[in-house]
């Protein structure tokens, strides 16, 4: 017997390597953050497991889920915020489909299939749905039938919600470009190229379009011709869509700061340092700003005094926008737990993880 068989040890090391590398491999189910819609007393949300839930906004009790609880598998993981038009709910999925569901029952009305995952939120304008896809295209669909009206190809994924104004649709893409399209036929009017990718959607207000990019800047461009009006540099990627309240643009950055900028000039009016990266657009209601962070803290700021009114620490990152309805703010955290908090005081009213409810 040999004193030391180096080759056997080598094989053991390789087996360890195999195990380690396998552990590093991406998990088969793509995790996602769920986004919320609260309207008419009902909270709608997608989940990591690919189920859409309708919950009673007052209690968190489940009204329905899609696919039905009796069905074992879900659709693909859901990042997108559900949107409602009349009594139809629309939501895109990682499984390449955009689902149109009956808002009362959750039953499927129609489905549109693209060639890539649909992570972007849907925009509804004048009976038309506009949605971007990982197949690099933005689609205009008839809201009632799901039939395609037109499509426009960009150079990379589209993860942000388009915005529309005056017969034009503005689409941001991770190909570093912001496109202005004719809403009726998808013809390109102009494009603006930034120094980094656009992962969040643009916001249009007045004659300006605002959009944050991975060149760490917030860009304000002329809505008519795409010329740059101003740019503001932050310390990290700007992923969140800008929020415009009267003449102030509020935008969060992954540098953990929320910036308040003059909408016309881009001059900084103030900034707030949060506990973690700000990925999603803040919510505004009744003079208060609600800012979710990747550290799991929800900061609530009084806009007039620029002081923090209260904060709430959740167990997991807050990566989607909070939603305020009546006197309640709703926040979803990674892992699909939803918290309902008193919008003025932060006192928790209820929390629920629909996917774990028995």
């Amino acid at each position: 017997m040999k004193l030391f068989n180096a080759r056997i040890v080598l094989i053991v090391l390789l087996i360890i390597l195999m195990g380690t590398l396998s552990g590093c491999a991406p998990v088969p189910v793509v995790p996602s953050w769920s986004s919320l819609l609260v309207t008419r007393g009902i909270l709608y949300m997608g989940s990591q497991a690919g189920r859409v839930y309708a919950l009673n906004a007052a209690s968190g009790a489940e009204i329905w889920q899609h696919p039905a609880a009796s069905e074992k598998g879900g659709v693909g993981p859901l990042y997108a915020e559900p949107v409602l038009l009349d009594d139809t709910l629309y939501i895109g999925s990682f499984d390449n489909h955009l689902y149109a569901l009956d808002a009362h029952t959750g039953s499927q009305r129609w489905v549109f299939t693209s060639s890539g995952s649909i992570l972007a939120d849907v925009l509804i304008a004048d009976g038309t749905l506009y949605v971007g896809s990982n197949d690099h295209k933005v689609y205009a669909l008839d809201a009632s039938t799901g039939l395609k009206k037109w499509e426009f190809a960009t150079g990379n994924w589209i993860w942000g919600r388009p915005c529309a104004n005056g017969g034009k649709v503005y689409v941001s893409s991770l190909d570093h470009r912001l496109y202005c399209l004719d809403a009726s036929n998808g013809q390109k009017q102009w494009e603006f190229k930034a120094g980094g990718a656009f992962a969040g959607g643009p916001t249009v207000a007045g004659d300006l379009v605002y959009c944050g990019a991975f060149d760490n800047k917030i860009h304000a461009v002329d809505a008519e011709n795409g010329s740059v009006r101003w740019q503001f540099e932050t310390g990290h990627w700007v992923w969140a869509s800008p929020l415009v309240v009267s003449d102030t643009v509020y935008v969060g950055s992954l540098d953990k700061r929320l910036y308040a900028l003059d909408g016309l000039s881009g001059t900084k009016r103030g900034e707030f340092e949060a506990k973690g990266m700000i990925r999603a657009m803040p919510a505004y209601a009744n003079g208060l700003l609600y800012i979710g962070t990747e550290a799991g803290t929800l900061h609530v700021l009084d806009v007039a005094s620029r002081a923090q009114k209260w904060s709430f620490d959740a167990a997991n990152p807050i990566l989607s926008s909070p939603v305020v309805a009546n006197d309640t703010v709703y926040v979803s955290v990674l892992g699909d737990t939803v918290y309902a908090l008193d919008a003025q005081t932060g006192v928790q009213r209820w929390s629920v993880t629909p996917s774990k409810r028995k």
């Binding site: 017997m1 004193l3 080598l10 090391l13 390789l14 991406p26 996602s32 120094g195 992962a199 991975f214």
Partner: protein, 262 residues
């Protein structure tokens, strides 16, 4: 512990790959290849030591076998004599393991870098944001990277299985070159199983994981083949291509010297 790993190994590797990506026409495949060559150059002294150690160990095999036969009933004495032999020959029996141990974190760090540099969903991209050096403005603006190289999507396994085959072939070649010719049937059988087993294991890894890692394996094997050629020539590979067969010894010669040509 995770922070130390990220700061010392993962983040420098990830950002080096991104930096090379910006220099090499935004081809992530090319940046992996160039990065591999740079890593191999940096670890050349260790690799050289590993190769020399492996060669020396192989040269000692006949003497070790004689010792095993001589002290087959006295394990303690056998261990003493083996250590003595290693010491006299100036060979460290762990000499070929230390470099492998050093390379192991490099492989893991590189795989982590490839997977993280090529996110395919927002959560992975958010994770990447935590590790990119923001002080170099060019790096954050490169995202998302172009994952396509030749027929490969470097963030996913090769759908045509060509890369796993290349990994197996190049690793087998390297193994064959590293293995000294032997007339001992037991040693030959062991060598043959090793020459097949290692490449097959790496082939299976490549089959299942991101093809960027497979590209690294192929690149590192090719560099290894070149290095091995300059150290010991074609080794057993030359015998294979020349069609020569090594005669198997059925009985061991008696005495201290087993009669092998050195």
């Amino acid at each position: 512990m995770v922070e130390i790993w990220n700061t010392v190994l993962f983040e420098p590797m990830l950002n080096s790959l991104l930096f090379l990506y910006s220099l090499l026409g935004r081809s992530f495949g090319l940046s992996i290849i160039v990065f591999t060559v740079l890593v191999r150059i940096l670890t050349l002294p260790i690799t050289w030591q590993q190769m020399r150690s492996a060669k020396s160990s192989q040269e000692l095999q006949p003497k070790l076998q004689d010792l095993q036969k001589k002290y087959k009933n006295d394990r303690e004495k056998l261990a003493q004599e083996q250590m003595k032999l290693y010491k006299e020959a100036g060979v460290n029996p762990l000499g070929c393991l230390v470099p492998t141990l050093i390379q192991l974190p490099i492989w893991i760090g590189l795989y982590q870098s490839i997977i993280n540099a090529l996110p395919n969903n927002p959560l992975q991209l958010l994770n990447l944001a935590r590790h990119i050096y923001q002080q170099f403005p060019i790096l954050p603006s490169l995202v998302p990277l172009n994952a396509h190289f030749l027929w490969l999507n470097l963030g996913r396994p090769d759908p045509y299985y060509a890369l796993p085959i290349l990994v197996v072939a190049t690793m087998w070649m390297q193994q064959k070159m590293m293995t000294a010719t032997t007339t001992d049937p037991q040693q030959q059988a062991m060598n043959q199983s090793m020459e097949l087993m290692m490449p097959m294991m790496f082939g299976i890894i490549t089959l299942q994981l991101a093809s960027g890692l497979g590209l690294y394996f192929v690149a590192t094997n090719v560099v290894g083949i070149v290095q091995q050629y300059f150290l010991s020539g074609w080794g057993s590979l030359a015998t294979l291509f020349s069609g020569q067969r090594i005669p198997l010894r059925t009985t061991r010669p008696k005495g201290k010297d087993d009669g092998r040509k050195k």
